[in-house]
């Protein structure tokens, strides 16, 4: 999406629920996948995705183009949610305050969850790698996931994390060195 198109969409989404709904449809899947790849936990990924979008909605009015795209802004919120969760080291999270309405067809929700669990279970190599990555510091976890799993460019990671490209490059280098030791250990 180019900048002018993105600006138009965000402007509409600030006042029109339908436009926000379209934006949500576009970004729900990438954000859920990113959080799942950070956490390897489907229920936690759902909770943190919910919080990410509630925070995005609350902050939408203040969102301005200041060298950061909307996509990077959303990834930044998601990154903060994941990192905050690990910092708190407990799972009492704010979702209890922003309760989702239950889908009337509970069977469908259960079967969606089972399918997602099966998909995650089938990715054995990812699960092993993910366990090792989660032993690293939060910033290393962030840059590795964004660079190698989300295939983000250094410039995009720099926008998401809010640090210079040079800093990201050196953090990525150190993160790989640390992960290498974890893999060997």
């Amino acid at each position: 999406m180019d900048i002018s198109e993105e600006k138009r969409k965000i402007g509409e989404a600030k006042k029109n629920p339908q436009a926000f709904g379209q934006l949500y449809d576009e970004f729900y899947r990438p954000i859920l996948k990113y959080i799942l790849r950070r956490t390897s936990d489907i229920e936690l990924a759902q909770d943190l995705t919910s919080q990410t979008f509630f925070k995005a909605l609350k902050g939408l009015k203040k969102f301005r183009w200041q060298n950061i795209s909307f996509s990077a802004w959303l990834y930044r919120i998601a990154t903060n949610e994941v990192n905050d969760f690990y910092r708190r080291k407990n799972r009492i999270i704010q979702i209890s305050l922003e309760k989702l309405p239950e889908i009337p067809s509970q069977d469908s929700a259960d079967s969606d969850l089972k399918l997602a669990e099966a998909e995650l279970e089938s990715k054995k190599e990812f699960k092993i790698l993910s366990q090792k990555i989660r032993k690293l510091s939060l910033i290393y976890q962030t840059v590795i996931t964004l660079r190698f799993f989300e295939k983000k460019k250094i410039s995009e990671i720099s926008q998401i994390v809010g640090k210079s490209e040079g800093t990201i490059k050196s953090q990525l280098h150190r993160a790989l060195e640390t992960l290498k030791k974890e893999m060997e250990g």
Partner: protein, 259 residues
């Protein structure tokens, strides 16, 4: 292990690709139902309504006084209509607008229809604050002598864009086979009725000395499939040309008991 090997391993790892449709739908409903849009909703609609219609009304009045007297009559009729509390309620609650006006025999007929825009992608799931009132449009009759609204008649979509039994049956099939409908509408719910949907672009015309509503969208066929379970209602809007579900409206009462 060399760093290059580790990078290759990271780049080539088979990653989980998930889509949790039930979570996506419930989160979307919660977001659209949140205070953010409630706070902005009525005030923003009122503000936009004022911003758009007051200048338009002023222009109408100026043109009427200076150039054409019938336009003055139309402006007066619009003003009378806007001062009516029921019309104000429809404008605020149902997001309706006064979109066309015709004057005939001392009476003005004003078209009141939905201002909602259509979603271009995906299925739009939204709450209807008053599901029992499924009015999509109305003709407001203004008595110009008495300077009051004399009638508000709901527009019958079946008269403007009728559907035959086969088309209604097809609408029911499309709605029933849509996965998102299955996730939102309980299996126990039954179809209460299937009717045509009022086209988005309509206007008033005079035909055989009578003011009527006509559609401006050629060949577009849309239907509404109304589901019911106890006192809860869902309206699934189907585009018959594209054979897809475009919108699902649910009553706000549906959330009672879940909080």
């Amino acid at each position: 292990m060399k760093t290059e090997e580790l990078i290759k391993k990271l780049e080539n790892t088979d990653l989980p690709e998930i889509e949790i449709q039930s979570h996506k739908t419930s989160l979307k409903m919660a977001l659209l139902d949140s205070d953010y849009f409630k706070k902005t909703g009525s005030f923003e609609i009122f503000r936009r309504y004022l911003a758009l219609t007051v200048p338009a009304l002023a222009v109408l009045v100026i043109l009427g006084v200076v150039v054409i007297s019938p336009k003055l009559t139309e402006a007066k009729a619009l003003k009378i209509a806007r001062n009516n509390p029921e019309i104000n309620r429809l404008i605020e609650e149902k997001k309706m607008v006064l979109s066309d006006v015709k004057v005939k025999d001392g009476k003005a007929y004003i078209l009141l229809n939905s201002s909602k825009t259509e979603s271009t992608t995906g299925i739009n799931v939204q709450k209807n604050n008053n599901a029992s009132e499924d009015m999509e449009g109305a003709i407001v009759e203004v008595d110009l002598d008495k300077k009051e609204v004399s009638q508000i008649n709901s527009i019958n979509s079946e008269e403007v864009a009728p559907l035959n039994d086969k088309e209604k049956e097809s609408a029911g099939e499309i709605a029933n086979s849509e996965e998102v409908v299955g996730q939102i509408v309980p299996k126990e719910a039954t179809i209460e009725k299937i009717q045509s949907s009022l086209p988005k672009k309509i206007r008033l015309i005079e035909r055989n000395n009578v003011i009527e509503v006509t559609s401006e969208t050629n060949g577009e066929q849309k239907a509404e499939v109304h589901y019911i379970l106890d006192e809860k209602k869902w309206v699934v809007k189907v585009n018959l040309n594209e054979r897809k579900v475009e919108e699902i409206e649910y009553s706000s009462d549906n959330n009672k008991g879940r909080d």
